[in-house]
Amino acid sequence: MKSSNMERNKSEKIPDMDFCRTEYGMYAPEVTSMAQIKQSDADSLAGVGVHVRGHERSGTMILRNTYTLCAQSESKGLELLPIAAALKKYEWLGDKYYFKAVPAELDEATKRCAGQKEPHGYFIRVQKGARVTLPCQAAFYMASENITQMVHNVVILEDDSELQLITGCVTQHDIKSGLHTAVEEQYIGKNARLTSTMVHGWGSDVVVYPRAGTIVEAGGRYESNYISLRPAGQIISNPQTWLNGKGASAKYLTIILGSPGSTIDIGGDVYLNADGATAELAHRGVCTGGKMHQKGMLIGNASCKAHVDCAGMLLNEGKGGFIESIPGIKAHHPDARLSHEASIGKIAPEQVEYLQSRGMEEREAISMLIRGFLGSDIEGLGTELDARIAEIAELAGHGEG
């Protein structure tokens, strides 16, 4: 990795994090195999797109609290291991990839992760030319109150390979607090394609600090869909993407539901370092309360094209909730074509009444409008993603967030 390519946008400020509330490793695992997973656990996981049984998947990894229940590939060309095992198996992993896209010294979250005796998380490798047709799924599941999950995931797509990855992060329905930090490093080889869909469904006081870095080589494509279904107490995330090869591309879609008491700060910096690189960043937020920050920064270092778009809908007034949208662009190259837009609005009463005149109840009308707002301009959403959006629209429409 050339160090010049890994430069970070200097204006990034890491917000204060709260590490004092939980202890790591206090709990002995009470569930140690897939067979022991209760139906209620399976239901929670299914809610974020991870299916314990009956669904066709190319591989499954489940971390329950701090215990890895399984990490198994079912598909040729796909390797899925617990990260600790992979580090033992492959020396090159530590030399070339581990803490290379996300520096161990980045901040308190990464330092703590690096300091663990044995890291949790997954290692995924798709071999050169392998096109894994079925999605691979991973779950980070918090089933006890007040635990800490510190995970470290590495995904390597070798040249010309393809993978769809579904990651579900969820707390058991009655769990309120916990701390989840994650280091996510993704390496996308030449002409390789990674589609990552992450669905979060956290308890109301859970604190979540993902630190992600993705490097895309020539002709490679990274697509990220991030959906936060139930707002956590605090989510602070600013994924970094380096488009280092000619024609590399990245597409981010972030859909967030904010509610009273939550602080959500989601950014996304994309460095367009090679000619023909393209990027699209789209943030969609529905706020029924709490603080919501939508950010995004495009840095054009070559002849490239990129667009960032933040759109927010603020549903309730007078509860101290707000949406702040800051899309940013920065060009270092005369042929960088960068653009941004941001808008915040409310639900127009005449639109609600129009739908009511077709027989809808007011709530149904509001849900349909929110769903339209969240899903507009996005072609080809999968049925699962579409179902998640419908769920958010339903929750927000009922003011329950």
Binding site: A348, E361, E362, G375
Partner: protein, 255 residues
């Protein structure tokens, strides 16, 4: 013989919009199975009357009552009125980002019907096949908006339908199609009065009346029904003498 009851009846209705009085002591009765035309100058209160019958919040009833099939609906909200069987095709409906015409139609009709030939024919009758996947009213021409609105009414099958200037901004070819849709909505081809739907149609220039037989016409002037009668006789007078003649006539009556 069945008693001829009113589908819609309005008694002494006064309505304000943004604090300004728009309708003044308006009275109107539309019997079951009858379609009435509402004529009048721009700004005379035609659209306001339709919007207040549907129950839009901006149109505030300060006094008077609205009855639908004998039931006082003055205090009901839009949804309740729609569920009772009142429908509207607006002249300038809102554009909604991300909400497609098919989303609304699929809400109105059940899954089985969505897949039926009858549904496909309905969409075809409105020439809206290409618009099902488009955001509602986004970038549509005047005629396309009318057809989208009428298609929704056709799907809803209201007992009482209102249409705001279905003939304005529509070329001659489309007017025939629009006329056909309206006849379908009102079931005008039925021989039995009981099967026919009732409704109110606003028309500024009366051109839609070449396609639909209205039972009666009303002329609105300054927030009141000034004159009612045979649609063709009234339209003839207006075409010859203009609405100014109606105003003069009304002033004479008032004196």
């Amino acid at each position: 013989m069945k008693k001829n009851t009113n589908s819609l009846e309005i008694r002494e209705l006064c309505v304000q919009v943004d604090g300004k009085e728009i309708l003044r002591n308006l009275n109107l009765a539309i019997p079951e199975g009858e379609v009435h035309a509402l004529l009048g100058l721009n700004g005379s209160g035609k659209t306001s009357l339709m919007m207040v019958i549907m129950g839009f919040a901006r149109y505030k009833v300060t006094s008077g009552q609205i009855f639908f099939e004998g039931k006082d609906i003055t205090g009901l909200d839009i949804t309740e009125r729609a569920k009772l069987g009142i429908g509207i095709a607006e002249q300038r409906p809102p554009t909604i980002q991300g909400v497609k015409l098919k989303h609304i139609l699929y809400y109105i009709v059940d899954k089985k019907f969505q897949q039926s030939d009858e549904f496909a024919l309905m969409v075809k009758a409105a020439a809206m096949e290409k618009f099902l996947d488009r955001d509602i009213n986004e970038g549509l021409s005047g005629g396309e908006i009318k057809r989208a609105e009428l298609l929704q009414l056709l799907a809803m099958q209201p007992k009482f339908s209102m249409m705001d200037e279905p003939d304005s901004g529509v070329d001659l070819e489309s007017l025939k199609l629009v006329g056909n849709l309206i006849n379908m909505i009102f079931s005008r081809d039925s021989c039995r009065r009981i099967n026919k739907k009732a409704g109110l149609m606003i028309t500024h220039n009366g051109s839609i009346l070449n396609y639909i037989q209205a039972d009666k016409a009303h002329v609105m002037l300054e927030g009141q029904i000034g004159c009612s009668g045979n649609p063709h006789v009234i339209l003839d007078t207006i075409n010859k003498c203009g609405y100014e003649a109606c105003a003069r006539c009304m002033r004479r009556v008032a004196r």
